[in-house]
């Protein structure tokens, strides 16, 4: 049996606890809420955005945000300018 050093165990646990939290429904809903708030500053959203977090094989995470907007919001500083062409 290999004796694990305390610092290796600490790193292992830190990753484990982080991964557990990302899988928690509260984490995703909080992320979705914050992302939606930022997007609404720029767009008139048709619906709430969809956010998915997927763990990758390399230990990283793939975060995908999907949202639909009806229009670009007009900023006060640019309200006299013509709308941008998308």
């Amino acid at each position: 049996m290999v004796l694990r050093r305390a610092d290796a165990m600490h790193d292992r646990l830190r990753k484990m606890l982080t991964k557990d939290k990302i899988g928690d429904a509260g984490f995703v809903s909080a992320l979705k809420r914050d992302v939606g708030r930022v997007l609404k500053d720029y767009f008139d959203l048709s619906a709430e955005p969809e956010v998915t977090v997927a763990a990758g094989e390399d230990g990283g995470y793939a975060v995908t945000v999907t949202a639909r907007a009806g229009d670009v919001r007009r900023f006060r500083t640019t309200e006299n300018l013509s709308r941008p062409e998308m």
Binding site: L3, L13, L17
Partner: protein, 249 residues
């Protein structure tokens, strides 16, 4: 009255031992202390405190109206603490009923609630009756992982205080870097420590007899834990084995 639930998530980390020993030390300090066993079915606070042969009524009898809370309390033979035993099972006990029962405990400065293992109904029943929480863990990965989930769940209850007791610490292994320190464990849980208890064979030996001797290695740690709880402090000394200096002359 301060109502403190002692929980952990993972079973076998020492919740009941911490509840019993902390309770005894608080009672020795002069506080009126009641230990409540919230584990319905797998109750053993009466066994750990050595009062199992003197149990006449339990919380099931109180809730059924067969006795008062006062009549169900059993005097601990090691201290002035009193034990409110749990029932062996049978009827479901709601969180509201358990909370009312705890609130009805007369003349108590501290009520320590021994929470069942897990995070199901029993956990929520026990936590709902408390205003503070102590999460017991050991430096092992599985215990810390479960404690982390418990800490997350406790955040929804808006308790006055949530703190950690790290149990079964091996100072020799911490010094050699083979076991995480109390500071490391609390850093991972993002919760302050209120106590650190060293691994102690006396606990295992004497628990079978329902008592913890005052010559146990962990005695000082429990005294410090009781002092911290009573004074609402978090003074925890890091448990490290001090290397003896070798004399060459």
């Amino acid at each position: 009255m301060r109502k403190i639930v002692v929980t952990s998530g993972k079973g076998g980390v020492g919740k009941t031992t911490v509840t019993a020993t902390l309770g005894r030390h608080l009672a020795d300090m002069g506080y009126r202390t009641v230990l409540v066993d919230a584990d319905v079915g797998l109750n053993n606070l009466d066994v750990v405190t050595g009062v199992e042969s003197r149990v006449v009524y339990d919380i099931g009898d109180v809730l059924a109206g067969r006795c008062t809370v006062w009549q169900a309390l059993v005097q601990d033979h090691e201290s002035a603490a009193r034990v409110l035993p749990s029932t062996n099972g049978g009827e479901e006990i709601s969180a509201q009923a358990f909370r009312a029962l705890v609130d009805a405990i007369p003349d108590a400065d501290f009520v320590l609630i021994d929470c069942p293992a897990g995070i199901e109904k029993g956990f929520h029943r026990a936590v709902s009756a408390a205003t503070e929480a102590i999460v017991v863990t050991t430096p092992s990965a599985s215990a810390i992982r479960d404690a982390d989930k418990v800490v997350s769940l406790l955040s929804a209850y808006r308790l006055e205080d949530v703190s950690v007791v790290v149990n079964r610490v091996r100072p020799d292994m911490v010094s050699r870097g083979e076991m995480m320190s109390v500071e490391d464990v609390c850093g991972l849980l993002r919760t302050p420590a209120v106590g650190a208890i060293p691994e102690d064979d006396c606990i295992t030996l004497y628990q079978q007899l329902g008592r913890v001797p005052d010559f146990a290695l962990s005695e000082r740690a429990y005294e410090r834990l009781a002092s911290n709880v009573a004074r609402r402090e978090k003074k925890v000394a890091e448990l490290r084995k001090v290397k003896k200096r070798r004399r060459w002359f």
